[in-house]
């Protein structure tokens, strides 16, 4: 009776539970491992067929070919710029708006907040054709601004910061600095922003990953000369479709940055998702 396993925290996991987890983990990691396995082979060896279970010695050579044949450094730089600028901007504007929605009183507050939340369900991606027309009129096609501008603040970001600041920031604190004569923006800067820091960091992290992995719009609006990493990977596929050792070497190069982010901040990512961070 005491060994009955039931739902809940206190269950004593048996070996098969770990067995399942190991299987899941292998499923998660294997494709990534595979990309390195193939990416480090010699193309001619690959074409002879047969499975290879140990990495070959050709990764550096393959990577060099990849870097020569697509604008790799430009793409890496662009991805870093776009993801950083978008993250910074999303955090700044979302925190400001979240602070207003959570802590300031103004007419129409509830209605406007509901509107913001409702926009999360609107598939704005389907406006690509006019958005492209707008960007061509502005002369922004092929420019990073075309990718940055539409992503500068998100409904999710505003909602996330509103939720957080509502509980994390006591009203008395704001009233106190207001009494001392601080302007609205000063009280935001000195009270709101510091209080928002943990949620802001989380928002920045998820926005960074989301922007880094984004393909559809950058692919449409950026030319082949000025790509982000996913767009460059698409070019690599067009160039070397038959040579998978090169394509997957490129894949490895492109995923290294976020794998590093994951190794250092994976714990925070898990915590963020479990606190309610959602995709999109």
């Amino acid at each position: 009776m005491s060994k009955t396993i039931i739902g809940g925290h206190d269950r004593r996991p048996s070996l098969w539970v770990y067995g399942i987890l190991i299987a899941v983990l292998l499923g998660s990691a294997f494709p990534i491992w595979w990309s390195f396995l193939i990416g480090s082979q010699d193309a001619t060896a690959l074409n002879q067929g047969g499975m290879m279970w140990i990495p070959g010695g050709n990764f550096i050579a393959n990577a060099a070919t990849v870097i020569d044949s697509i604008p790799f450094w430009t793409a890496l730089g662009n991805s870093i710029i776009v993801s950083s600028v978008v993250s910074l901007s999303v955090v700044m504007f979302s925190t400001l708006a979240g602070y207003a929605f959570a802590k300031l009183k103004f007419r129409g507050r509830e209605g406007l907040l509901i509107f913001v939340i409702a926009t999360m369900a609107v598939p704005t991606q389907l406006g690509v054709v006019p958005l492209f027309i707008v960007m061509s009129r502005l002369g922004w096609t092929g420019s990073l601004w075309a990718v940055i501008a539409p992503a500068m603040v998100t409904a999710f970001g505003v909602f996330w910061m509103t939720q957080y600041l509502r509980d994390a920031l006591p009203d008395e604190l704001i009233e106190a600095v207001r009494m001392d004569g601080a302007s609205m923006i000063r009280s935001f800067w000195h009270i709101g922003l510091p209080a928002a820091r943990p949620a802001a960091a989380m928002l920045a992290l998820f926005t960074f990953i989301g922007t880094w992995t984004n393909f559809f719009w950058p692919f449409i609006v950026l030319g082949p000369g000025n790509p982000t990493l996913p767009v460059a990977l698409q070019q690599l596929q067009s160039a070397f479709y038959v040579d998978y050792s090169l394509v997957l070497a490129g894949v490895v190069l492109s995923i290294i940055p976020l794998i590093l982010v994951f190794l250092f901040l994976g714990k925070q990512l898990v915590a963020g998702i479990m606190q309610g961070a959602v995709k999109g």
Partner: protein, 328 residues
């Protein structure tokens, strides 16, 4: 002389105080609107306007290079709806969507249930399931493209290894959908499992205790307590994955080199079709017609989803309340 100066100074400081008072009132009144305005500005210019303008473009001849042409009424819609490619893309989109979302949610629930055990090294396992999330869909697609290779792919080698015929992943319709759905599932299952796990951990533990006293086994407690309580979050995940899943582009675009969705459009999704019309054929009018149709479909499904789930959630909530009462 001195009095006049004092009066002058006094008046000035009064004006000054009045002005700063006024400024401060404006500050209090208008600052909130200023702070929330960036979102509304970006949404209006980059989100809502393009979406609505899509309807305008869709009733015109409109070329990628040449720009706006004549008003053609519903001609673009008629052409698109009678060509058959639209219906093919619609079928493919739904097929890939169902093949990715249903198994994904079931497996994610299972993984969450396993992660909900009192594990050693919790963080390690949780990070492990999340790893695929940081790999871009394009990269995932390229890796799985190789694994699903028709001739030398690892999966076909394994299939032939056990004596079966290799599957033509890049030729046949359903196998191609399965392969693409696998890419989506690879990236999102762990992510959704963590969302479910968070919800599971919020289930009050005395519900479980009461259930054991009643003699329920693990499966029964999972089915009768955990699942009903998880329903809101499951609905939420279904909703977000519907909106995203019906717009699937990356994985299908990368499934072969040409990116048209297969030689005979076996895996061409609606967004791929929009891309082909707009940037392949340079026909912005027709591309907009398809985009607008997809928009209506998504809205329709979201509304249906909402109505169904509200009913289910309502009955589940009542049932659970009755059960909870029975327990206490």
């Amino acid at each position: 002389m001195t009095t006049a100066a004092a009066v002058e100074v006094n008046a000035r400081s009064i004006r000054h105080i009045a002005l700063s008072h006024k400024l401060s009132r404006w500050d209090v009144r208008f600052s909130p609107y200023l702070y929330i305005s960036p979102f509304f500005l970006v949404f209006a210019v980059m989100g809502l306007f393009p979406l609505l303008y899509t309807a305008w473009v869709s009733v015109h001849d409109w070329n990628l290079i040449g720009g706006q042409g004549d008003f053609v009424g519903l001609e673009n819609f008629v052409t698109v709806l009678t060509q058959g490619y639209f219906w093919n893309a619609l079928r493919n989109t739904f097929s890939i969507f169902l093949l990715s979302s249903i198994p994904q949610i079931i497996v994610a629930l299972g993984i969450a249930a396993v992660l909900d055990f009192n594990l050693r090294g919790k963080t390690f396992w949780r990070m492990g399931v999340l790893l695929p999330y940081v790999v871009a869909p394009v990269a995932v697609a390229l890796i799985f493209n190789d694994l699903f290779g028709d001739k030398y792919g690892l999966i076909n080698s394994a299939i032939m290894g056990i004596g079966l015929e290799p599957i033509r992943w890049h030729v046949d319709v359903i196998p191609s959908h399965l392969a693409i759905a696998t890419m989506v599932n690879f990236r999102w299952t762990g992510y959704n499992a963590l969302i479910f796990l968070a919800a599971m951990q919020a289930v009050p533990r005395d519900y479980y205790e009461a259930a054991i006293i009643d003699g329920a086994n693990r499966w029964r407690t999972f089915r009768s307590i955990t699942l009903p309580l998880l329903r809101p979050i499951v609905i939420f995940v279904i909703l977000t994955s519907t909106i995203g899943g019906l717009q699937i582009f990356d994985e299908a675009r990368m499934f072969d080199q040409a990116g048209q969705g297969g030689a005979s459009r076996q895996w061409q999704t609606l967004t791929l079709y929009i891309y082909e019309l707009g940037w392949g054929q340079r026909n912005f009018g027709r591309a907009s017609a398809v985009a607008w149709l997809l928009f209506l479909i998504i809205i329709l499904i979201a509304v249906i989803n909402f109505l169904i789930t509200r009913r289910i959630a309502g009955t589940a909530d009542r049932k659970l309340r009755v059960r909870a009462k029975g327990i206490s």
